[in-house]
């Protein structure tokens, strides 16, 4: 009993078990706060390895959906499967085995304010893998912070000494601490300057590619949707009304979707995207000649 490894030795879920094509499956989800119904009969599948954008007006329940999936919010009805396990009925051991396979970046960063960034990154590692040596923990903090795109000096800083964008990145580094298969990001680029936001998007895409991550990405940022999302799920009327690529979504004639993608900001993002592609297309032959 005294061996700290015991708890994890008895893990009910192997880290690399085979769960099929969908790391997340939600069926018939219902969430309500008192009279206010947030979700009703909501269903959603997230494919392995994709970056799924989740959009919807403010207050449509994007954060609540994420909280339901990661088990912070118990829904009234419905089934939620993560890595093939029904997390609403899983026993505590199973839950522990699932928790270390996902990383979460909360809307506000949610860094532990009394710990430095480096120590924040080490918290999940120490919690799950007490056998790791302090030297290795420090080394891990070093490379994770760089993976998340922070300068190394940030390691010894406290959250109160960081800018908003750096907090988000530090939160990302902590979310990546356990090498998760599944990453939840709640509005990661909200409040960042456009350059910072674009850099964050690029980072997310690269991470998803190199680490083979599945990303559940809540966002309001149209550029993010166009640039990095493989598919986009639209939340409206208490449900996921559509899941598809951005291009296909724009052909649907739901009023909110039309307004969202074809409003002034939607058009701007679209133009930027088109210009970008044009530039790339023009660059190619030139590069080929050289």
């Amino acid at each position: 009993m005294s061996d700290p490894l015991d708890r994890i030795d008895e893990r009910a879920v192997a880290r690399q078990d085979d769960y099929g094509e969908y790391p997340i499956r939600v069926r018939g989800l219902r969430n309500a706060f008192g009279e206010q119904v947030v979700h009703d009969n909501l269903s959603l599948d997230v494919r392995k390895g994709e970056i799924l954008g989740v959009v919807g007006g403010s207050g449509t329940g994007k954060s609540v959906l994420m909280r339901s999936i990661i088990g912070l919010q118990t829904p009234q009805e419905g089934e939620i499967e993560v890595f093939g396990r029904n997390i609403l009925e899983a026993d505590p051991d199973e839950i522990i085995g699932i928790r270390d396979r996902w990383g979460v970046l909360f809307q506000g960063g949610a860094l532990f304010s009394t710990l430095t960034v480096g120590e924040n990154i080490q918290v999940p590692l120490k919690q799950y893998y007490p056998e790791l040596s302090p030297e290795l923990l420090d080394e891990i903090a070093h490379y994770k912070v760089k993976l998340a795109g922070l300068p190394e000096e940030a390691l010894g800083k406290y959250p109160s000494e960081l800018s908003g964008g750096m907090k988000k990145r530090a939160g990302l580094a902590r979310a990546l601490a356990l090498d998760p298969e599944l990453l939840f990001l709640d509005e990661p680029t909200a409040g960042l300057d456009p350059i910072g936001a674009a850099a964050f998007d690029k980072q997310t895409e690269e991470l998803s590619e190199t680490l083979g991550l599945t990303v559940f990405l809540i966002t309001h940022d149209l550029d993010t949707l166009h640039e990095i999302c493989d598919r986009v799920a639209v939340l409206a009327d208490n449900q996921v009304i559509a899941v598809d690529t951005v291009t296909n979504l724009m052909d649907l004639d739901h009023p909110w979707i039309q307004e969202y993608f074809k409003g002034p900001r939607g058009r701007a993002a679209l133009t930027a995207q088109a210009l970008d592609e044009l530039r790339r297309a023009m660059d190619k032959p030139v590069a080929g000649e050289a």
């Binding site: 490894l5 994890i8 030795d9 893990r11 192997a14 880290r15 690399q16 270390d100 304010s113 009394t114 430095t116 480096g118 120590e119 080490q122 590692l125 799950y128 893998y129 056998e131 790791l132 040596s133 030297e135 290795l136 420090d138 080394e139 891990i140 903090a141 070093h142 490379y143 994770k144 760089k146 993976l147 190394e152 000096e153 390691l155 010894g156 406290y158 959250p159 109160s160 356990l178 090498d179 190199t210 680490l211 083979g212």
Partner: protein, 374 residues
């Protein structure tokens, strides 16, 4: 069962890259499986020429980091990396820096000395800070007097409820018990001189003059002084205070003044109430254990307690209330940076609150005696 990574070292079999050993890693190289071999690898003092990872069946960034660091340290070749491994090795291939992860921690002696110095400095800063805090309060009062419509009546009533009304139960019970203890212990001692009847004087006067209001102040410091510090401190952390300032609302007017007024006023009522409950406690125990019944105990109290004892209470109570509220709000406003600070400041609000209440009580005791209110 949990799987672990394993390693095997073939001495002097460095492969084509020449002298040195060959290490063959196998099993999963993941954050959850490398814990047992990681120290061995770090402490291996031979020379590795080749790192063979073709038998590794799964790898993540932690595994890749360990391989990459090992290769770096021994200047060894990595063999048998599949696509995933190559990708991850590249991702973690970042120049190792020496930035600190943990804050510096000086040796104990140094820390203690440093701490003492800082403490003294803090007292200095604290005094200046407290003075400027008082200044701001005076200004805020002035501005409220000039704009009577800004008088925060609703907030004051709300705070009065929290500070006073909601604490009546616990303060009443505590004072009652104190009255019981004083009467019972007092009677036991006084009976040795045959002066048992003086128990009434003891309970009546000490409750009204000292213990009632003192106990009430200590309880309010614990309940409300701490709450003030924690509320205001949390609002500072979440930048609510800054938000108020930018909107043009003075946090001093909006948050501190109502608490000061409510606490000062309510302490008078709560202090008097505590004194009364303590006397009732004394009367109750004397009814049960001494030969003086409840009503005659109360009647005797009226005879033996001079009016100026009541004045003493009424003068001390608002001062105590003000001290408790001032320190609670002041400590709350000093919170910066992190959640730990909220805890520290809340503790200080209570400790200093009670400390200063007792200091001022002692000064009052000397003062009242010297003006003849003995």
């Amino acid at each position: 069962m949990r799987e672990w990574a394993e390693y095997d070292i073939h001495e002097g079999d460095g492969g084509e890259s020449g002298a040195g050993s060959r290490i063959v890693l196998s099993g999963p190289m993941r954050v959850d499986s490398i814990g047992l071999i990681e120290r061995d690898l770090r402490n291996y003092d031979g020379h590795l020429a080749t790192i063979d990872i073709s038998a590794v069946d799964d790898i993540d960034t932690v595994g890749a980091w360990i391989v990459s660091r090992l290769a770096d340290e021994h200047d060894a070749e990595i063999e048998g990396a599949n696509d995933t491994a190559q990708r991850l090795l590249k991702a973690v291939e970042v120049a190792e820096g020496d930035a600190k992860v943990h804050p510096d921690r000086a040796p104990l002696v140094e820390r203690v000395l440093y701490g003492a110095g800082e403490y003294v400095q803090d007292w200095g800063k604290g005094t200046i800070g407290l003075l400027s805090f008082l200044g701001r309060i005076v200004l805020a009062f002035g501005s409220i007097i000039r704009h009577p419509r800004r008088f925060p009546m609703r907030a004051i009533v709300r705070q009065m409820e929290l500070v006073g009304v909601n604490s009546l139960g616990i303060i009443g019970l505590m004072s009652f018990l104190i009255g019981v203890v004083i009467a019972q212990q007092g009677a036991a001692q006084l009976s040795q001189f045959g002066a048992e009847s003086l128990t009434v004087n003891l309970v009546g006067r000490i409750s009204l003059r000292e213990l009632g209001v003192l106990m009430a102040a200590i309880m309010v410091a614990g309940r409300s002084g701490s709450a003030f510090a924690a509320q205001i401190g949390t609002m500072k952390l979440t930048e609510e205070i800054d938000a108020m300032r930018t909107i043009g609302i003075s946090p001093t007017e909006k948050l501190i003044i109502p608490r000061l007024i409510a606490c000062t006023v309510m302490m008078v009522f709560v202090g008097f109430y505590a004194a009364v409950m303590s006397i009732i406690g004394g009367a109750a125990i004397s009814d049960l254990m001494l030969d003086l019944n409840f009503t005659s105990f109360l009647a005797r109290v009226r005879d033996v307690v001079p009016t100026y004892d009541l004045w003493v209470l009424l003068i001390k109570a608002p001062v105590f209330g003000l001290i408790v509220a001032l320190l609670g709000c002041y400590q709350g406003m000093q919170v910066e940076n992190n959640a730990e600070e909220v805890g520290k400041r809340t503790t200080q609000a209570v400790v200093f609150g009670i400390f200063f209440v007792i200091v001022v009580d002692a000064i009052f005791a000397v003062f009242f005696t010297s003006v003849g209110w003995k």
